[in-house]
Symmetry: C2
Subunit: 409 residues, 2 copies
């Protein structure tokens, strides 16, 4: 079990090496810290010959991708684990290539001098099991689309059910492989916050701080219902074929509709007003004139979701839905039991307009609950802007001071 560079990323790695040499030269002039992240990041792969799930299933040849930013110190006690959201990956910061159109999703807070300061911390992030995007060349994951070594064919729906706790267990094995025995913090947004809570509950001796963004301590029943609806279009697509579609026509239409739901629910009417208004999709094609004529927001949803579907896998989405639905901090029996296991101080960062994890149902009562059981809790809704749930990604920098202060305590 050790980190090995993925074959598909060889070119990036070579480029990274060349830039590494350049950075080393530049460091003579004091420029290294900036280059260390504003330069190039590399996807590495962690492998486990076999993993037994919380539910008792066996997954052989587990492979998950991971990235890191900054340097692990000799004591190996400066690590911060970043856990990713439903449609995210381990690409939390930096660029693979200088010409990448955008950096990792939380680049605004990860880097030299930023709240997750790479001059100080070793930031590490890994792709989860059943990551949504196995077709993304920068994602390495194990799930229904992976080959089952016992059959030589993709698992499909024979892949065992996995939970958020399984994601955490694999991350724990990754950290073990690096000799990391203590974490300055675990920080995650949305599904990443579920993993952060689970880390806090499962490894209280190891986790010094929990930072949870746009999430909650359990999947509330309304969210369980919504997650069911996110999955539904896939099952309706005849190409889904009970999950047996590998090497055949894939359920792209169903997957696209599923991702339209995910995309829209993660946003807000304020965003829709600002981005589209009631504009038509095409000039001269009045939506009142024909059933097929659309509004701009409809055409955008189709296009955005089709782009995401191209790198996603339908069965992986179903497994992610299940992992989120079944989540209760500490994996039960009750939320109270699970929360009681968290000993670390907690920073909660909801978006006031979140329609996936509404703060009235999630982080506002959670703040009181954690304080009542004795945890130190910091709390800010500073990220709230116009994008609802997505403010947790797009506007995380607005919570930068809160994060910096929380890490300094």
């Amino acid at each position: 079990m050790r980190g090995v560079a993925s074959g598909t990323k060889r070119r990036n790695r070579d480029l990274s090496r060349r830039l590494g040499a350049l950075a080393m030269a530049a460091s003579l002039f004091g420029a290294l810290p900036a280059l260390a992240l504003d330069g190039i990041v590399e996807k590495k792969v962690f492998e486990m010959p076999s993993y037994t799930t919380v539910g008792g299933g066996t997954i052989k040849n587990v492979r998950v991708g991971w990235e890191s930013y900054g340097k692990l110190n000799e004591a190996k006690d400066n690590a911060i684990l970043v856990t990713h959201f439903f449609s995210g990956s381990s690409h939390a910061a930096g660029r693979y290539k200088a010409e990448d159109p955008a950096p990792g999703y939380w680049d605004s807070i990860i880097g030299p001098g930023k709240p997750l300061d790479t001059d100080k911390y070793f930031i590490i992030s890994s792709d989860t099991l059943v990551n949504l995007s196995p077709k993304d060349p920068n994602v390495v994951t194990t799930g229904p689309a992976s080959i089952n070594p016992d059959t030589g064919k993709p698992y499909g729906m024979s892949f065992p059910v996995v939970t958020i706790q399984d994601f955490v267990n694999v991350q724990k094995a990754l950290l073990d492989s690096l000799g990391i025995k203590s974490l300055q913090a675990v920080m995650g947004g949305s599904m990443g916050s579920l993993q952060a809570f689970e880390w806090g509950a499962d490894h209280p001796e190891m986790v010094k701080r929990v930072i949870a963004v746009i999430g909650g301590p359990e999947a509330d029943p309304f969210l369980i219902g919504w997650l069911n609806l996110w999955a539904a279009p896939i099952r309706l697509d005849p190409n889904w074929n009970n999950g047996d579609y590998y090497g055949k026509a894939e359920p792209v239409a169903g997957l696209t509709e599923a991702l339209k739901l995910v995309t829209l629910q993660a946003r807000h009417w304020k965003w829709a007003d600002a981005a589209f208004g009631r504009k038509w999709a095409e000039d001269g094609k009045d939506p009142r004139a024909a059933m097929g004529n659309q509004y701009a927001i409809e055409a955008w949803l189709d296009k955005a979701a089709a782009g995401r579907a191209a790198v996603s896998d339908a069965n992986h989405l179903l497994y992610l839905v299940k992992a989120n639905q079944t989540f209760v901090t500490g994996n039960g029996p009750s939320l109270e039991d699970g929360l009681a296991k968290i000993k670390a101080p907690v920073l909660l960062i909801p978006s006031a307009d979140d329609l996936v994890f509404p703060p009235d149902r999630n982080m506002r009562p959670l703040k009181d609950r954690l304080e009542k059981q004795g945890n130190r809790v910091d709390y800010t809704e500073a990220i709230t802007s116009t994008q609802g749930h997505l403010d947790g990604i797009a506007n995380i920098a607005k919570a930068g001071d809160a994060i910096t202060q929380f890490l300094a305590k």
Copy 2:
């Protein structure tokens, strides 16, 4: 064009006649008002040989069902029109048969001595064009599932696009046929509120008051996106077959998933918490143990939506989605223009927790807007409870005093 009893309701009508005679006898003892509504209501049918849509399409042999409660006075100036919601019908109050399990949806405010007082007002409600539930024996509507007299076959997707303004135009023809030239109020919830606003804008000389519940003056772009998603499962179902499924296997699975979306978005996490919590669908079937094991809320959604799908038509849902998406008060060109046409006082009744028409986007700014243009506006959020959008139906009685006072002004 006159109201005629629908063939399928002959038995009810006969029962109604018998009860009518009983009521007449009872009136000798002063008991008529109570029996007038707590007794039996009758579905009537309004017919138009031909209707030309706002978009220029022609629909021959238009038939819509209607009901009334109370008595039209001689001056014909005591009428209140009640316009129905997306999945509703003209059955706003009363029962068809004494043994009906539930009365019409707003029975709590319609009846003798109630806010819509049938001792005083003639309450009338009609099924819209493209009503969701053409298979409900108590709904009479004209839409894609109707026979096109020119072909002898169902219209399917050749049915012309219809708008909220078309719904209003057909209602206007119904009222004309009854000699009603003035309305004490038009009142509707959700899609019914869109019709109420449209009535106020199209017939300011006729509409004395507008009462809008859980709605808004236009489909905002976020709602346009959601409506697209409501429709999507139908198009994914291979049985939909571009709307050509009559007499064949129907797209029941797609329609059911569509109705699950409608059902859930019309509710709220407070409702889900109270009704289900994280309970499993079946004892002994831990959702963590198998992909097919569900939570209670999932099983409930499946069952509730399947029940609704049994009386609904998939193409009708697509046409309703279009009618709602295209709605702007006054049918454009701008919302300002449309609202300026409303001269009547307006009573706005949002639910604070509404996820379909969030009051921050809809009724709260609308209140200011209408007041600024000189309308008298009454406003109450008294219906807010735990059911989100649905509070506008389930808890309308909490706005009873506001309605009574508004009608008295």
